[in-house]
Symmetry: C2
Subunit: 174 residues, 2 copies
């Protein structure tokens, strides 16, 4: 088992230990600002305590060699009909290009579809350190839907992507 270093395991149930591990992972990337880092850990804490149905946040964790190397967080959009926000996909810095992101996205979309979701929205930043994620979503069948100029702060726009899990993007599902 220890020799299968390439094997990625996915799970969706948070343990108490995962809360700090998620915080450590998010901080280690150097991509997120203090508010985002705090929020990531806080959402994990709330979901561990209340469960995804009440917290409104679902997690999927990716593990390699018994360590969390990435995770995804998503949840239903309040007062919408089967629309979901994919809040984060975070990957450990030295594990990019190893299929973790793609795996997390596929597992998230699969779970969202199981929960009845038909559309997934992703909100990202226009800053250059978010260029790789933006390209990633485009490659995975997401379409850029809108840009809100200077949304987060001056020079930092919000870029909104969308993917339909049924209908026009159905071909991407299998």
């Amino acid at each position: 088992m220890d020799k299968e270093e390439k094997k990625i395991l996915f799970r969706d149930l948070l343990t108490e230990k995962d809360i700090a591990a998620i915080g450590d992972l998010v901080r280690s990337t150097g991509v997120f600002n203090p508010c985002e880092m705090e929020m990531a850990e806080e959402l994990a804490r709330e979901t561990y305590a209340k469960g995804p149905e009440i917290s409104g946040y679902h997690f999927i964790l990716a593990e390699m060699d018994h360590r969390i190397v990435g995770y995804a967080c998503f949840g239903p959009i309040t007062c919408s009909e089967n629309r979901y926000d994919l809040y984060w996909i975070v990957i450990q810095n030295d594990r990019h290009r190893s299929g973790i992101g793609k795996g997390l996205l596929a597992k998230s979309e699969q779970r969202i579809a199981e929960l009845g979701g038909v559309k997934v929205y992703v909100e990202t930043s226009s800053l250059s350190n978010y260029e790789a994620p933006r390209l990633f979503y485009l490659r995975q069948g997401y379409q850029q839907e809108a840009i809100l100029k200077d949304y987060y702060r001056e020079g930092d726009d919000k870029v909104i992507f969308r993917k339909n899990l049924s209908g026009e993007n159905k071909a991407h599902r299998k």
Copy 2:
């Protein structure tokens, strides 16, 4: 005092009685769906219990003859720099066109500016029963920034408006 029927009083501190009054007001309009009605009262309850700084929601109430005839609810956009969401302006059905909406919007923008806010976002629906609010925001200096097709459900788009409280829209402030 009782004869001054036209006088609108604004206040921003919620009392316990206001929670049910807000729920009644929202339900009486016939505009909102069950999820929105539930959320309106829930946000008031949370803000009464924790205060606006912790709940993240600020309220401004409009009173006439000691009754709540409308209210606004807004709050900072998480992890943004001085950006605010204006979540709701609700007016009693027979009190439209009496300046309550304009007054609530002006008081909200004033409070947002006091809190350091520089941009205000409003998200509305494309449905026909939201046409009056959409025109209202345009008249009050808001600009339509994006439309997310079928965002809430099939045929129900999200329309996003924005107003800058300083800079290009400064003329609207006074």
